[in-house]
């Protein structure tokens, strides 16, 4: 005797958090049943495998029906078919939009296109995240991207409003969107040590300071997704800091005077100052080219983090140096782009400090 049809419908939709997780993780019904059996649920409840199978099927069916609504979370709140308490609705949405660290590191900065989607099986094999789950996460990225791409106002705010995510998750999505839009390279081997947290931190700072939305008076183009073109253009002006030899020497002597005796790696710093400064300023001046924007993180690692790391600078010394390095520019009489310098350096300094680890 086989059950052809087997359903359970509650007036309040039953949501089993454990099964939801298994579903989100992309397990098939039979795999999920296997995993549940291994969790010892049969012993706890005295149920049979058949009961578990039926229960799992039922939940999967419910989730499948809910998935369409989860694509536009406000619909989940207004729909009438599933009566779900608000706290549960929030949980459903939050979990659906949550993503795996391993997965996001693979996709971050890539174009959210069909091509990337085709690569998902490779990513799945590499990360151990099931293909189904990869697809869901990728589609989530793409969906959020499409909705907020052209929107004005705060990026994280827009995401929160349209997808009803928690503050934390909305900010993570803002980073994902920002990276995808600017196509920052994050996949290179030398960048592998950076966590999603590091990159999201940088993205948030850049969104705050380097996009048109960052400048209070630029009401017309209040966009958080793109970098401020004007600002990038202006950054060329910084070149004088390394091109003008006197200015460079003066800058160096100011920094060295201030830091003498305070750094454990003073000698190395003194020896490397011009290289480091050149690196940082050149990165700024090249940002008008899309190619160089994409390589921003590669450049930061190559031009600054790796040299420091090879000389075994402690993090605190890097901090002291960067602070002094940015501050000393204000004492350079011949330099007139103080505001521009600050807008660039404040963000860059925080990013570098966050990225400076093993």
């Amino acid at each position: 005797m086989t059950n052809e049809l087997d359903i359970f419908v509650g007036n309040t939709t039953l949501i089993d958090e454990d099964v939801y997780r298994l579903w989100l993780d992309g397990y098939s019904v039979s795999d999920a049943v296997g995993l549940r059996v291994r969790s010892g649920i049969l012993e706890q409840t005295g149920a049979t495998a058949g009961v578990l199978q039926s229960d799992t099927m039922d939940h999967y069916r419910t989730f499948h029906m809910l998935e369409r609504l989860l694509h536009t979370p406000p619909k989940l709140l207004h729909q009438l078919v599933f009566q779900i308490p608000p706290s549960r609705q929030a949980l459903l949405i939050e979990r659906y939009y949550a993503f795996d660290e391993a997965f996001v590191r693979e996709v971050l900065g890539k174009k959210l296109s069909k091509g990337t989607k085709k690569d998902l099986d490779n990513i799945s094999a590499k990360t151990g995240v099931t293909l189904k789950s990869c697809r869901r996460q990728f589609d989530n990225f793409k969906r959020v991207f499409k909705v907020v791409e052209e929107m004005r106002g705060s990026l994280a705010g827009n995401i929160q409003q349209h997808f009803l995510l928690s503050d934390r998750l909305a900010r993570d999505y803002a980073a994902v969107v920002f990276f995808a839009n600017n196509r920052f390279e994050t996949g290179k081997k030398k960048l592998q040590y950076l966590t999603f947290g590091d990159l999201a931190f940088c993205a948030e700072l850049m969104i705050q300071n380097w996009t048109p939305g960052a400048v209070a008076d630029s009401q017309l183009d209040d966009m958080d997704v793109d970098l401020d073109k004007e600002f990038l253009q202006d950054l060329k002006e910084l070149k004088v800091l390394v091109a003008d030899k006197d200015l460079l020497d003066l800058h160096k002597s100011l920094v060295c005077t201030a830091l003498r005796g305070k750094l454990s790696v003073f000698a190395e710093m003194e020896a490397n100052f011009k290289n480091l400064s050149r690196g940082l300023v050149n990165i700024a001046s090249k940002l008008t080219h899309t190619k160089d924007v994409r390589d921003l993180f590669v450049d930061l690692v190559e031009k600054f983090i790796e040299p420091c790391r090879s000389d075994r600078w402690p993090l605190n010394d890097v901090r002291l140096f960067l602070n002094q390095y940015s501050a000393s520019v204000h004492s350079l009489d011949g330099f007139r782009h103080q505001t521009l310098w600050d807008r660039y350096m404040v963000t860059l300094r925080s990013c570098l400090l966050r990225m400076y680890h093993d």
Partner: protein, 1025 residues
């Protein structure tokens, strides 16, 4: 022109994309009532159109208002081709036709399409202006209230309970009309939906007319069903109990209305003198002609309780003469009615005097032999026959009335089994007479009738018993005779005293039959039926004994006919009634006593059975007091009272063992094992697994022995369809399969709802159907309610609390209150006596005593007509405080969609129903031609049932309600054709839309301001002000 219907279409949202090119929709709406249609403007290119239409006004007869549904169709405008329908909304405007229900229907309705399901929502406002029409010969019955609830609805008071009303209408089924071959499935489905909606309206109107004729104003326990007879037609039939109800208003509660005893009497429900008895309009002579020649009628009454009646053994006792008088009165009043039937399952206190036992009748009919299928006469005659039979069965049991009455059908091809069942009962005569004269008699009767056991006393003559049964003196009052077992179809009376908890008991049975045609088929079925009834009955009895219990409530036996088999499923709730004797055990006897190993096997089985009984007694906390044999028969009131206290406190295992020994002494129920079949039966007895710990289940309103419900409820429907493997089908394998199907279904439910433990599945309602040769479909609807475990330990204490709480809840219900208080104070006497006898509980008893003082005080104040003391009592109750704490946590206020609770029960735990908004009676068809794409049969039906729930909730919300009580899924007909990738399902649901207010909120409201959230008419808020 007695009425004006006004409709406004406000807006739509989440509409489907109808124009692929623009990914948008150009929607407009057609509003149709009767033959009049209005249209809104087209709202171009939007999935969230804002029509904001004018008020569309329909001027119509109130007859049409009752019959016709308002039909709203949403369409997509297309310049070049025909407009595409998006979907429809049918709105039943009946709730707007009586003043006490809803005043406006306003809200978001799901737009439903029979092929695509729900496609967006539409916001509609509907109002009705009624003009008074005093035409005596009018055809409408506006103003008659309908309730699905099978008890007097809360916040109403029964002035008169008139009795049975029934009606039946027939029409051609659109699915079988010639035009169906050329029209689309959608058109056919919609024609059917519309027709059933129309027929329901007509039926309700006609029943309403009968009620008016009887001078009633309401129908309680209204049950409407439809029979899909196929070629011969579509029948919609309904039964109910006509009543005159009075709304309990807060002003009435303050009037010293019940000052004089005679006045009090008037508050009680009266079975109305029969001057205008219920008469069926289709009271045509029974057709003996052509068609229904084959009427293989037979019926089996299942009388399980025998009655002393008057004049026999109990003649010398005080109650005797009064009883005789009582009987005469009842008799005369009820006998003049055609059918003294009541669809109620719970009654006002004092209404039910004695219960005789279950009466049932079945009859097999051939549908293709109906002489004139389009007319209702033949079916009316069929039902009249069956009712007549029920009536005579009741008479055989010494009863004049049938309560908990219901009717059902099972149809397979051209064969139809009609079934009716109920509980034979004697009703209180004081409800039959006008109060004043009878005053003193009534008083004395009141004294004589012991609380909580009277209904168990046999109504028939001891010397003239209709069937053999063991009679003993009542274990409560020792004055009257009671049977050893009692089966009923009603809920456990509120004043009945039970020991321990109850449990769901099911008997399941399959019988193969040969495929046959017409008469041969009907004969085969008729021949099988008595055996099935007998076996179902035996199974029930065995299982009841196995549980160590002695009474069944809410018994419902369903016989389903299929092509090649018959299925029987009986569900009931077993309890241990203190008034009835302790059930004897089950003794197994072998027929071949010579064989040694066989003997051993038998004794092994016997041991297993005894163990199971002992285990069950422990599980359900059944530990009745030991009563020395010699005392039995002499009236001693003391032991009972002591026992009531003891049972909750002492659960020592010693006592259980002692009780086990007592089985042996009693007359045991002997099971003879004479062949393998019987062996199977014994085995199957033992295969029923008790629910996991923390779970209880019952099919009555509430679980006897549990009364500390929390507000957490979950109503659900579960459907399973099983395919039987074709090979070697025998009765045994069939039985096993069916048994497994039901058991596994229950196990799944327990597993799914495990987060609600400790919890009870209430009103578990199983329905079996045989949609195809090898398919069995089982549908279950029930509600899971969490209860508070800690309070459950102190049963006696909670009982007092409950009674005090109930008293305060019902404080405006003048009718029930004085009576209830009587029983409550009676029930609480044990505590005072306990103080004297057992010192251990003195502190506890002290506390209880203070409670009792309060109750007594209240009782006195109530009798004087003031209710002021009630609120403080409730506030002091720890139970209420507990509720308060819990409720503050889940604040669902920020949800955009209001929560609508659904429950098959007539109440909502922890809440008070302040207003009934009208009956919900909805019928839906869903069909698909892309079954696989919709997730197979399970995906299809899952989505459909979820949609049905959604539409019910939306209608309730639009009426301004927040819950549906007495919800029932009356039909769920599922058909599939996987080869064609098609499936179709018909669902019929009903219930009462209500507004409820949480008890805690009620307090807040009442202390702050009289009426805040509840409707102006509701009385809840004003109590404490």
């Amino acid at each position: 022109m007695p009425g004006k219907l006004k409709v406004k279409i406000v807006a739509g949202r989440h509409l489907p994309v109808m124009d692929r090119a623009s990914d948008l929709t150009d929607a407009f709406v057609e509003v149709k009532f009767g033959n009049t249609t209005f249209k809104t403007d087209v709202y171009h290119k939007s999935l969230n159109p804002q029509w904001n239409s004018e008020w569309f006004k329909f001027e119509v007869d109130d007859e049409d208002l009752q019959d016709e549904p308002l039909q709203i169709t949403v369409l997509d405008h297309d310049t070049y081709s025909a407009n595409d329908a998006i979907g429809k909304v049918y709105i039943d405007i009946d709730p707007l036709l009586y003043s006490e229900a809803a005043t406006v229907i306003s809200g978001w309705f799901p737009i439903y399409d029979t092929i695509h399901g729900i496609r967006g929502e539409i916001n509609v406002v509907v109002k009705v202006d009624l003009f008074n029409d005093l035409n005596r010969f009018r055809q409408s019955s506006c103003g008659v209230k309908f309730f699905c609830t099978t008890s007097i609805p809360k916040c109403y008071r029964a002035v008169i309970i008139h009795g049975f009303v029934e009606e039946l209408v027939v029409n051609e089924d659109p699915e079988y009309q010639w035009i169906d071959r050329i029209r689309t499935p959608r058109a056919s489905n919609e024609a059917r939906q519309r027709l059933i909606s129309l027929m329901s309206g007509e039926l309700q109107r006609k029943i309403g007319l009968k009620v008016l004729e009887m001078r009633g104003n309401a129908v309680v326990g209204y049950l409407q069903c439809f029979d899909l007879e196929g070629e011969s037609g579509l029948v919609v039939r309904a039964i109910g109990t006509a009543c005159t109800l009075d709304k309990l208003s807060s002003t009435a509660a303050f009037l010293p209305a019940c000052n004089s005893p005679s006045k009090e009497m008037k508050e009680s429900p009266l079975v109305h003198p029969p001057s205008h008895g219920c008469r069926s309009t289709h009271n045509s002579p029974i057709h003996t002609a052509t068609g229904s020649r084959l009427t293989q009628n037979f019926s089996v009454s299942v009388p399980t309780l025998i009655y002393t009646g008057m004049g026999s053994g109990s003649a010398g006792k005080e109650g005797g003469p009064f009883k005789a008088l009582l009987r005469q009165q009842t008799q005369s009043a009820l006998e003049q009615r055609e059918f003294p039937f009541f669809t109620l399952t719970a009654f006002p206190p004092g209404f039910l005097v004695h219960v005789g036992g279950v009466v049932s009748a079945r009859s097999v009919k051939l549908l293709d032999r109906i002489h004139n299928p389009d007319e209702p006469e033949t079916r009316d005659a069929w039902w009249a026959e069956i009712r007549q039979e029920i009536k005579s069965h009741a008479k055989a049991l010494g009863c004049h009335a049938v309560v908990g009455y219901s009717e059902s059908t099972s149809i397979c091809e051209e064969v139809c089994i009609l079934s009716a069942s109920g509980t034979a009962a004697v009703l209180n005569p004081r409800f039959l007479q006008d109060g004043t004269v009878e005053g003193c008699l009534e008083q004395r009767l009141e004294e004589n009738l012991p609380a909580g056991c009277g209904f168990c006393h046999i109504p028939y003559d001891e010397l003239n018993m209709p069937f053999p049964a063991h009679l003993t003196y009542c274990y409560s009052c020792r004055k009257q005779k009671v049977p050893d077992v009692l089966f009923t179809t009603i809920d456990l009376p509120a004043d009945a005293t039970v020991i321990g908890k109850g449990c769901l008991i099911q008997a399941r049975l399959c019988r193969l039959k040969k495929k046959a045609q017409a008469e041969a088929n009907a004969t085969a079925i008729s021949n099988l039926l008595p055996f099935m009834e007998y076996e179902v009955h035996t199974q029930l009895m065995n299982k009841l004994k196995l549980k160590g219990m002695n009474a069944l409530f809410g018994l419902r036996i369903q016989i389903t006919v299929g092509e090649n088999m018959l299925m029987g499923l009986a569900s009931a709730t077993g309890v241990y009634l203190t008034a009835l004797p302790t059930p004897g055990g089950i003794q197994i006897a072998g027929k071949t006593p010579n064989d040694g190993s066989y003997e051993q096997h038998i004794s092994h089985m016997q041991k297993k059975i005894n163990d199971t009984i002992a285990k069950n007694k422990e599980l359900y906390e059944i530990n009745p007091p030991e009563i020395p044999e010699e005392i039995i028969g002499s009236p001693i009131p003391e032991p009972r009272q002591r026992s009531r206290l003891l049972r909750s406190q002492s659960e020592s295992s010693d006592e259980v063992i002692e009780l086990d020994l007592s089985h042996g002494k009693k007359d045991a129920f002997v099971l003879e094992i004479d062949d393998t079949d019987a062996m199977e039966d014994v085995h199957s007895l033992l295969t029923d697994v008790p629910p996991p710990s923390g779970f209880y289940s019952c099919n009555t309103e509430i679980m006897p022995g549990i009364n500390n419900w929390t507000s957490e409820i979950q109503m659900f429907t579960s459907v399973r369809v099983s395919r039987l493997s074709n090979i070697n089908l025998t009765n045994q394998t069939l039985n096993k399969n069916f048994n497994d199907l039901c058991e596994n279904l229950l196990k799944s439910l327990y597993f799914k709802l495990r987060s609600m433990i400790p919890c009870c599945l209430c009103h578990v309602n199983f329905t079996v159907s045989l949609p195809e040769d090898e398919l069995i479909q089982v549908t279950v609807t029930a509600v899971a309610i969490t209860f508070d475990k800690h309070q459950a330990v102190q049963t006696t204490k909670t009982q007092v609390e409950k009674s005090s709480q109930r008293a305060s809840i019902d404080n405006e219900e003048l009718l029930q209150f004085p009576l209830e208080l009587c029983t409550d104070t009676l029930a609480s006497h044990p505590f005072s006596s306990a103080k004297a006898t057992s010192i251990d509980y003195s502190s506890f008893a002290d506390r209880c005593n203070s409670w009792i003082e309060l109750i007594k005080l209240k009782a006195q104040t109530i009798r004087r007509g003031s209710i002021k003391t009630t609120m403080p009592v409730e506030k002091a109750s720890p139970l209420t405080e507990g509720h308060f704490r819990q409720r503050s946590a889940p604040a669902c206020a920020n949800s955009t969609v209001g929560v609508v609770k659904m429950t098959p029960l007539s109440f909502i735990p922890g809440a008070k129903i302040t207003k009934y908004l009208g009956i919900i009676n909805m019928f839906f068809i869903r069909e698909t031609t892309s079954l696989r794409e919709e997730g197979g049969v399970s995906g299809f039906l899952h989505a459909f049932i979820a949609e049905v729930f959604a539409m019910v909730r939306a209608h309730v919300a639009a009426l301004g309600g927040n819950a549906v009580v007495s919800y029932i899924m009356k039909q769920c007909v599922f058909m599939e054709n996987p080869n064609k990738n098609q499936a179709q399902c018909l669902i019929n649901v009903s219930g009462d839309a209500v507004i409820f207010v949480r008890e805690s909120e009620l307090e807040i409201i009442s202390t702050q301001q009289p009426i805040a959230s509840c409707q102006p008419a509701c009385s809840g808020g004003e109590i404490a002000t």
